[in-house]
Amino acid sequence: MKSFKVSSIIAMAACVAVVSQAGAKEDHHQHHAAPAAKKAETAPLSDESIYNLNSVLLDAEGKTIKLEKLRGKPVVISMAYTSCAYTCPMILAQMQQVEKKLAEMGKKDVRFVLVSFDPEKDTPEVLKAYAKKRNLSSQWDLLTAKSDKVPREIASVLGIKYSKVEGGDYDHSYIITVLDAEGVPSGRQVGASGDPKDLIKFIP
């Protein structure tokens, strides 16, 4: 009992330390935001970074963005489509579990990204409504594109296979990838059975 208390106090202290450190970092970052950000952007990307892709995506606001915009924070990324009834909600739920676990650890500087297989149906408006319906936090980005070429590119770098089947559904691999702050894959979960802890291990 006693040791439990002590360890929980230590854990709480550690949490406070992490949170305050994060706060301090944020402050620091705000003061020196411009030069620091500039430096990060101009440094050449690693050869293995998926941000080398020039794919142009659309966010839920309809703005065009490149993947490189995600640079700077670790990313948990997968692909889905909003009309999907079976596996996609599972992928999303697992990613939300990771988010929850990380939040418990006091780690909030991680992005969660889903890219749509279905640019035709998943317009920015549809994504926006979906994010609302699924209660996605501000750590999330739902992305789509103007043509089928783009999801094919993203799938190619993530090792995801997919095809459109009758009735507008997609068959696809179940792969969730963790990217480091530079967009280099640091690990992934293949298949539906997985513990969020295993994905968290890959987050730097």
Binding site: E48, L53, S156, K161, D171, A192
Partner: protein
């Protein structure tokens, strides 16, 4: 006089133009049944253009000359594995002159795609490729014999020139018998299911051992192509894997 000059110009063009320059072949719209699939349904293909032969080493050299980021010393690891163009002696030399007209291989899907985009084209889709590949060469029997004989023969090196074998009835060469080719949606076929959803994907694609229902020996060849495609990753480069480009009509 003008006519004479035009004539001379034409002659000059004909002389300097390499004999292996690819032509855009117009493929008429139509329907087909994908080989090696059970529960076959007719698939519709819109009309499009396809190169008369796979991209050659000489053609690819021009691409890397103008696009330095695709030279083998410069290409990013994300876009090609270590064996990218590994038979070329250097960045801008593919080695022996005789290879100029043989198909470029050891190129990744990304490189193939960039090449086609540079040409104002794109990679063909699996459906488009298979649709053209079904077209007979001279007569039906010949194509099947050719395919099965080729698949049984094993790898050849160096590869022979493009356009050496007879074209199919559209005028398209080397769909079979020379190399395997990248398609835009190569990562469509999933032979092993990774989740419940995946399991559904190729349940209608029968495996070699259980293919007793295959009425057509060409199905075996098509099955091999599906299996091969599903084993690929976009950055892989393979000794007998090249590509050709297509274009919307």
């Amino acid at each position: 006089m003008g006519g004479l000059i035009r004539c001379l110009l034409l002659a000059a063009v004909l002389c300097t133009e390499p004999t292996w320059a690819a032509q855009d072949i117009l493929v008429p719209a139509g329907e087909f049944k994908m080989p090696a699939k059970l529960n076959q349904k007719n698939l519709k293909v819109a009309s499009f253009y396809i190169d008369s032969h796979p991209v050659t080493n000489a053609e690819f050299l021009e691409f890397v000359r103008q696009n330095p980021e695709w030279r083998k010393s410069k290409v990013k690891k994300l876009f090609a594995d270590k064996s990218y163009l590994n038979y070329w002696v250097s960045d801008l030399k593919f080695g022996d002159k005789v290879m100029a007209a043989s198909p470029v291989v050891r190129v990744s899907w990304f490189a193939a795609r960039e090449y086609c985009a540079w040409k104002g084209q794109r990679l063909p889709s699996t459906n488009e490729w298979e649709y053209v590949a079904l077209r007979p060469i001279n007569n039906e029997t010949e194509i099947k014999t050719l395919i099965l004989e080729w698949y049984g023969r094993g790898a050849e090196w160096p590869l022979s020139n493009v356009n050496k074998s007879s074209p199919n009835n559209l005028g398209v060469h080397d769909m079979h018998g020379l190399i395997w080719e990248w398609v835009e949606d190569f990562n469509t076929s999933l032979v092993t299911g990774e989740s419940r959803a995946d399991g559904g994907l190729d349940k209608d694609l029968f495996c070699g051992a259980g293919a007793s229902g295959a009425a057509d020996p060409a199905d075996y060849a098509a099955f091999m192509r599906f299996a091969f495609r599903s084993s690929l990753q976009a950055k892989y480069t393979v000794q007998n894997l090249g590509f050709r480009c297509a274009k919307n009509r």
